[in-house]
């Protein structure tokens, strides 16, 4: 549809003519929902470099015999010794903290759900990556997550540093424990713009 400016009388081919495109500050980039049979990893590739920050929100579950496991992430397919990790956690009766230098992945939220404990409980998590394309900064990742099965649970604040100044263009998420991430696990990647 064309339009004509009331002020200049200029004719435009679109109703948006003369106006800046609206770019939301918080925008969905991609979402992965794990299908039947599960999958071993989830990847976001070709991440646009048009945002300031990234956020991943999701729910995740894994058929795991007992105890906990966690998500781990690699950026830009880097599996070298280029990651550091720290965490603060609690399990309902005690709290702890630990840290490790120089690892091969970014530590992400703990989430494991033992199948026999609850078939319906998923862990929930939010991961924030600030300045993901800034070439002057190593990338600091902050993750906040927890799960509850009405019998066991875990809550954890985790941090990680990817020792690289490269822009993050891809993220691969997998689990420490072998086997697939369960069906219906969901990973949603968002981009945040600055002003």
């Amino acid at each position: 549809m064309s339009t004509i400016s009331l002020k200049s009388k200029q004719k435009y081919g679109t109703l948006l003519a003369g106006n800046e495109a609206y770019l939301p500050s918080y925008e969905s980039i991609a979402t992965v929902i794990v299908g039947s049979g599960g999958q071993s990893s989830v990847s976001f590739t070709s991440i646009p470099t048009t945002y300031t920050h990234l956020q991943i929100r999701g729910i995740v579950r894994k058929a795991f015999s007992s105890g906990t496991t966690a998500l781990k992430a690699n950026f830009n397919s880097d599996t070298g010794m280029n990651y550091t990790n720290h965490q603060l956690y609690g399990n309902g009766s005690s709290a702890g903290a630990d840290g490790n230098a120089t690892g091969t992945y970014s530590n992400m939220p703990f989430f494991a759900i033992a199948t026999q404990q609850s078939d319906t409980a998923y862990g929930a998590f939010v991961v924030d990556i600030l300045d993901y394309r800034n070439s002057n900064k190593y990338k600091t990742i902050r993750s906040f997550a927890g799960y509850e099965t009405n019998s066991v649970g875990f809550i954890n604040l985790a941090s990680s540093l990817w020792l690289s100044t490269s822009a993050i263009t891809s993220i691969t998420l997998a689990t420490y424990a072998s086997g697939n991430i369960d069906q219906y696990s969901k990973f949603a990647l968002y981009g945040l713009r600055s002003a």
Partner: protein
């Protein structure tokens, strides 16, 4: 569709400076979200406290916090009388590392005392690094019109330190 999440402003330091400050904050939102990626120029520790002050205050009067934290090997919980919101790495931490802190300030334009929360981390390629969850209070009923971000020791934030301020609308 209502726009509920709006970037208000971003500040990136082109050179070292004592603080990052957002001024003339619009009073048209419901809540504020502040994302802080900062580093301090001092040396001698691993991290230094990141703190907030509001509306041009020159001191920490009427500010208090309660925190749960970890330092890479142990945990703790305590209180204090500043606007402490996590830590930023200092010059003794791994180079090129910056904080990752989010502060949520609900009802910032209201006429009640201002409660706010934060969760933040700083990283270091060693066992020691700081992270925590924070509940803060500014015992002041004034609407928040400016926010200053600075390091506890008053020393400069390094070049490339940045902060982004977002407004949240409930309608």
């Amino acid at each position: 569709m209502a726009t509920t999440y709006t970037a208000i402003a971003e500040v990136t330091l082109g050179s070292a400076a004592a603080n990052i400050e957002f001024t003339s904050i619009p009073q048209t939102f419901t809540d504020l979200v502040l994302k802080i990626s900062a580093r301090n120029a001092s040396t001698g520790g691993v991290g230094i406290r990141c703190q907030l002050r509001f509306n041009g205050a020159a001191n920490d009067n009427n500010l208090s916090f309660r925190r749960l934290y970890g330092d890479g090997s142990s945990t703790g919980s305590d209180t204090g009388s500043t606007g402490h919101v996590a830590w930023m790495p200092d010059g003794s931490a791994t180079a090129n590392g910056f904080s990752n802190i989010e502060v949520y300030i609900p009802n910032y334009a209201g006429s009640t005392n201002k409660s706010f929360s934060a969760d933040g981390v700083m990283e270091n390629n060693a066992t020691a690094a700081y992270m925590g969850l924070f509940a803060d209070l500014w015992s002041d009923t004034s609407a928040i019109t400016s926010i200053k971000i600075f390091a506890e020791n008053g020393q400069n934030l390094v070049q490339h330190s940045s902060a982004t301020l977002y407004g949240i609308k409930n309608s």
